[in-house]
């Protein structure tokens, strides 16, 4: 080819790009043609999703909770769901389409994904009408509750980083160290409820 500097690789065909480039952005870029209603989504959800995520998005066992948790983000134990935490609806569509159902990714049609996304919105009370139809045309009309909940990285303004002071070397604290907390779990395993919050998932 004539492209580039080293002339390696070859131009991608339109069909190849279309096959792999399925990502969707918050501004709707990448949304495919298609549509699905809350009612359509409910049937699909029971069949494809409820076994892990629970009938109401409440989750079975350690599988991710999809619904609920509104107004819990300042709680001691926040419940971060699509309704309570996710800033953009595009992420829901994009993620379901590319990775779900877990173990059978890429098996849903674009219409299926619109329907499931609509149903997840319904489970979260973001839409309340069972006849609501989600499509490329209606997509941007949906307001996600926590859209304003994110700030860019400002760690460097934290006091321990901001001052870059040479740290104390001698007699830094009075008195002898006292243990305030022991490792709760010795060599791991148990059913620790606490682990859920810190667990990568």
């Amino acid at each position: 080819g004539t492209h580039g500097v080293l002339h390696l690789g070859r131009p991608a065909t339109e069909a190849e790009v279309a096959a792999w480039d399925i990502d969707v952005r918050p501004d709707g870029l990448g949304l495919p043609e298609g549509r699905g209603t809350v009612t359509d989504g409910e049937a699909l959800y029971s069949e494809q999703c409820a076994a892990c995520h629970g009938d109401f998005g409440e989750a079975i066992g350690r599988w991710p909770v999809l619904a609920g948790g509104q107004d819990t983000l300042t709680n001691d134990r926040p419940v971060k769901t699509i309704g309570s935490y996710w800033p953009y609806l595009s992420t829901v569509y994009d993620y379901i389409r590319r990775t779900m159902p877990f173990g059978n990714a890429r098996s849903l049609s674009d219409d299926d994904v619109y329907a499931l996304t609509a149903y997840v919105l319904y489970l979260n009370d973001v839409v309340t009408d069972e006849d609501f139809e989600l499509s490329r045309e209606t997509f941007l009309s949906v307001d996600m509750p926590n859209a304003g909940g994110f700030i860019d990285d400002d760690r460097m303004s934290e006091p321990h980083y901001a001052n870059k002071a040479d740290p104390c070397m001698k007699d830094c604290k009075p008195g002898k160290a006292e243990i305030t907390m022991h490792a709760a779990v010795l060599d791991v395993t148990p059913e620790g409820e606490d682990g859920a919050d810190g667990a990568p998932s």
Partner: protein, 420 residues
Amino acid sequence: MTKTSTRRGFMKGGLTAGAALATAGLTAPARAEGDPAITEIQDWNRYSGPGVDASPYGKPSDFEAHVVRRNVAWLTADPVSSVNFTPLHELDGIITPNGLCFERHHAGVAEVDPQKHRLMINGLVDTPLVFTMADLMRFPRENHVYFLECAANSGMEWRGAQLNGCQYTHGMVHCVMYTGVKLKHLLEEAGVKTAGKWVMPEGADASAMTRSIPLEKALDDCLVAFKMNGEALRPEQGYPLRLVVPGWEGNMWVKWLRRLEVGDEPWHAREETSKYTDLLADGKARRFTWVMDVKSVITSPSPQMPITHGKGRTVLTGLAWSGTGRIARVDVSLDGGRNWVTARLDGPSLPKALHRFYHEFDWDGSELFLQSRAIDEAGFVQPTKPELRAVRGANSIYHNNGIQTWHVATDGVVENVEIS
């Protein structure tokens, strides 16, 4: 049965007997006539061992069978989207052996045929391109040693001491030498349009991992790597191709890399909205917290490496690293941060790589509260956990680089603790 195989079978039995003897030698009081490990002829001193045809790809000694990755079943719903931990407590130097590098998958290990693997570049480029692995081998290559740390490393410790061992509290990190092609060269081949400001890598596995990376970082030091520590990537590390994003959180180092899209805005994928965003006490969450901050941990003594030799000369060792650059200094405290001494850095000091430190001291047998505190070349000092919690709360999940405390009891047993 041939003579050779008979002897090999015998040798195998001999190995087990040797292990028992070695153990007995450690515990039994010295015999008057001397140590049987010396005075008795050992099997390995008498019989020939396996030949050069016995193991075309070698493995560690059977006596090192305990040095393995371990997982914590209750952390995740399923082992397929889960994590395991590097046995940092058993390792030394700065390079992690390939087979011990921790794993983090979101849909298991993709087993990709390199003949069928393709890398696509599309989006805001002059010419969308497809590369085969053979094409990629024709670009200029570079070698770099970098740490890769999961954003969630130490995440289980935000609320306090929980897991008992640095393998579990700090083992979502590894450090290898990558061989690969600068991402910059690949992007130049496609020609990034002026409007292009972000690059999105995508994986070929069933989780189709995607993240948004600013173009400046992509053009700076990112690599598309096909080798680690000299050999092909391990399947669990992205064979045949992975992205290397030096100093930045491990989630962005997309494995089984199949596509790079250039765009004018970030994508806000699931892995940078729902996950890898850091909830603060006021209910707001930080996003795009990419850099892994200055951090260290004492790997021995540690809960899995108690002091068994009694009082006297003791080697304290550990690892320090920073996503900002090199480590300038590591301080060590034996009394829970009341007093500090500067440890000895040893081995190569490379930017955005693990650094090895040592502090040798005479243990008087009293209880110790061991801490390490790293300082990077930019002057950032590793904070304490209380300092982090004071500004972030306890629900950030990610980016816990707080100072770790190990309590050494008078019997040499070590525990993960928090202290006043």
